[in-house]
């Protein structure tokens, strides 16, 4: 159940939603209108819950599950949103030299039919997983809802790994958000000054070492490594951190040139 609390003195709404895309979503938005703030929060909840269903590969009835089951057998016609998302995934696959791959295998084997807006998997092993993309995509949607409501100051935290900062902290020039060392939570690896951009972080934690797969080798990367990226584009930062977790140094240099506007740091712990 969504939680919300409006802090009248600060004109601030805090919204929180648990069990969404496998994590928790928190939003602080500054708006001098309590009822509008609550409406915006409800709109965001509805949108994020919609995306949760859309990208949920654990729910056999989700749109993604249907694609994963049927695209191996025959081309599946997509709605506009899925067509956009799969094309976007293809672009990112190309721009990261194959290190970002929602098929976790070889996205080149995912055929996109531009005429019919259909998808077909040439390879039976393929199953799409948007774990490294969906939260960035959701942040873009949230950003749109916030801006359309005239909100210019907000902080959105999607499970700590994807943070969107709109405008500045009400008493600062920006939102200063630090990345905590997952192995030593008291230690801050770096503090980023965010204003109208997003911070994405990928990495292994002490309890979670097998969740980022190298699509070129098919193996998990168990390194004690954290990658953070800041970009005005919420999916750019999201995709880049996932790719840089598995890319080697040479590949990382090449990827860097393709994303000149995205700043990133690789922390080896």
């Amino acid at each position: 159940m969504p939680y919300s609390q409006y802090y009248k003195k600060s004109h601030m709404l805090h919204g929180s939603l648990l069990n969404i895309m496998g994590t928790v979503l928190d939003i602080l938005l500054i708006l001098d209108n309590e009822s509008l703030a609550e409406t915006v929060w409800r709109d965001i909840v509805a949108e994020v819950e919609r995306l949760h269903c859309m990208f949920n590969r654990f729910d056999p009835t989700s749109e993604l599950s249907v694609i994963n089951r049927q695209a191996v057998l025959r081309p599946v016609t997509l709605n506009d949103e899925w067509w956009y998302v799969l094309c976007d995934a293809e672009t990112y696959h190309r721009r990261t030299f194959g290190y970002f791959d929602v098929s976790l295998h070889d996205y080149r084997k995912v055929q996109l039919d531009a005429e019919r807006h259909a998808v077909f998997f040439e390879e039976p092993l393929i199953t799409l997983n948007f774990g490294g993309y969906a939260k960035g995509y959701a942040l873009k949607k949230i950003q749109r809802i916030l801006l359309a409501a005239g909100i210019r100051q907000a902080l959105v935290n999607f499970g700590n790994s994807s943070v969107l900062a709109l405008g500045a902290h009400p008493h600062g020039e920006a939102w200063n958000i630090g990345v905590a060392n997952p192995f030593m939570p008291e230690q801050t690896l770096k503090t980023y000054t965010l204003c109208n951009n997003s911070l994405s972080t990928s990495g292994n934690t002490s309890t979670h070492t097998q969740h980022i797969i190298n699509p070129h080798t098919g193996t998990y990367t168990p390194e004690r490594k954290v990658v953070s990226a800041v970009s005005a584009d919420c999916t750019d930062s999201e995709v880049l951190t996932t790719a840089l977790m598995v890319a080697d140094d040479t590949a990382a240099q090449k990827i860097k040139k393709v994303f000149p506007a995205t700043k990133y740091d690789i922390f080896v712990i």
Binding site: M1, P2, Y3, Q5, Y7, K9, S10, M12, H14, S16, L17, L18, N19, G22, T23, V24, D26, L28, K135, L155, N157, G159, N160, S161, S162, V163, H169, P170, H171, G172, N176, I177, G178, V179, A180, N181, P182, T188, T191, Y192, L199, T201, S202, G203, N204, T205, T207, H208, V226, S228
Partner: protein, 431 residues
């Protein structure tokens, strides 16, 4: 805690101006107030040098603006232990003698409960600013007489409700009032211990003198010694005084010729229908000590300094940001990192209201470190120098003392007691 640290800790609440407007009795804890007493000293007498008296004396020893000039106790061994701590202080066995000693600005009354009222009234009438331990008295008449004397003399009176000075309480109550746990729907207070509440007695003739807490002539037992602290918290949270009380009490385990209940269970009912339950059992300590404030969005545990949301667990960093923005502050917050997933989260343990929380499991029968008692003593000494009473403090203490006694009456008479009009003083809903 040093005043600077105390202010810094609760200064998270947006500076001393806001702090004092929310908690007016903290006026003398501000840094501005510290300047006004620079170089001055409060000359104090301490009446009652038993375990709690020694606890205060050890605090007074650390305060720079205090000089303990007189000590009084009618039990020689206790007086001696205090005199060892303050060898230059004059010693007395009768409080009236101490009160007539020239050069005393203020006194601490740390005697058995039954002695509080007449000594405090004597002290105020003798022109001394007075700190009296809680509860105020053994009867509602005496509580009112103390309050009236305080008002008539215009002297400073403090009652030892240290939670009013405990940073974690101040912070948590401010958060409750800002709405973080939603509408308050219930209050549960309890204090569970497993011990006989006795002190060693050298000779049977001293039994009632040393173990005065166990005898009705001197004490209201669990209600006046423990419940007063916690009932005060309920009123503080709700900004209201309950109108009725009912309950049961008995001696069920410590059948050792004591007269006060070792087991009490009561309900205090507020005008808006909210119930505050109070339980204390001293033959089982499993539940410990707590004041739980139940809201429709969350729960605050004041003694632990922790709160829990009903449905969701916002990231800690978000709560830090809310706190900053609410107090017009700006700082870095470190919460970004690899995705938070439920499997990596431990069982929901709640959030702390302050970074540093000092806790007690409630078994001490004297007092614990960092529970606001030092700040309370410090603030009193400050008021002794300035002569300025602490706003609302006596009122808070008066109602908690009277409510404890009304609870006792309800249990003894086995009936529902309505708050008597003649004992209402102008404060909150009884104004």
């Amino acid at each position: 805690m040093e005043r600077r640290n105390f202010i810094k800790e609760i200064g998270m609440m947006g500076g001393s101006g806001l702090l004092v407007s929310a908690f007016p009795w903290l006026h003398s804890c501000t840094l501005e107030a510290e300047k006004e007493i620079k170089g001055e000293k409060a000359r104090l007498g301490v009446i009652g040098t038993g375990s709690r008296g020694m606890y205060h004396l050890n605090h007074l020893l650390t305060l720079p603006h205090v000089e303990v000039v007189a000590l009084c106790d009618n039990y020689e061994p206790h007086l001696k232990q205090a005199a060892a701590l303050f060898p230059n202080a004059k010693t007395f066995s009768r409080h009236t003698d101490l009160l007539s000693m020239p050069g005393i600005d203020g006194v601490f009354v740390v005697t058995p409960l039954s002695e509080h009222a007449h000594i405090t009234i004597d002290a105020l009438k003798a022109g001394k600013h007075t700190f009296c331990e809680k509860s105020m008295a053994t009867t509602t008449e005496d509580c009112l007489a103390m309050y009236n004397t305080y008002k008539e003399t215009g002297k400073v009176l403090y009652i030892g409700q240290q939670r009013l000075f405990d940073p974690k309480y101040l912070k948590a109550i401010e958060m409750i009032h800002s709405g973080i746990i939603g509408d308050i729907t219930g209050i549960r207070c309890y204090w569970f211990r497993n011990n006989d509440w006795r002190r060693p007695v050298e000779h049977p003739s001293l039994e009632r003198k040393i173990n005065w807490r166990l005898y009705k002539e001197f004490s209201g037992g669990l209600m006046t010694e423990l419940a007063t602290h916690q009932l005060q918290v309920g009123n503080w949270v709700l900004k209201m005084i309950p109108e009725t009380v009912a309950g049961f009490g008995d001696i069920i385990f410590w059948k050792d010729s004591r007269e006060v209940y070792d087991n009490v269970c009561l309900v205090y009912r507020y005008a808006n229908g909210i119930n505050m339950t109070y339980e204390s059992v001293i033959s089982n300590k499993f539940n410990g000590l707590e004041e739980q404030i139940l809201g429709h969005k969350g729960t605050m545990e004041l003694e632990k300094g922790k709160y829990y949301f009903e449905e969701v667990k916002p990231a800690a960093g978000i709560l830090q940001l809310i706190n900053q923005i609410e107090h017009r502050m700006f700082d870095n917050v470190s919460f970004a990192g690899p995705s938070w997933v439920p499997e990596t989260a431990q069982k929901y343990q709640g959030e702390y209201v302050l970074n540093k929380i000092s806790q007690t499991e409630g078994s001490s029968t004297v007092g614990v470190v960092d529970d606001g008692s030092l700040e309370l003593a410090d603030a009193f000494c400050h008021s002794v120098i300035t002569g300025r009473p602490a706003e609302n403090l006596v009122e808070e203490a008066y109602y908690s003392s009277v409510l404890a006694l009304l609870g006792l009456q309800a249990m003894e008479e086995q009936r529902i007691i309505k708050f008597p009009d003649e004992y209402k003083i102008p404060y909150l809903n009884f104004a």
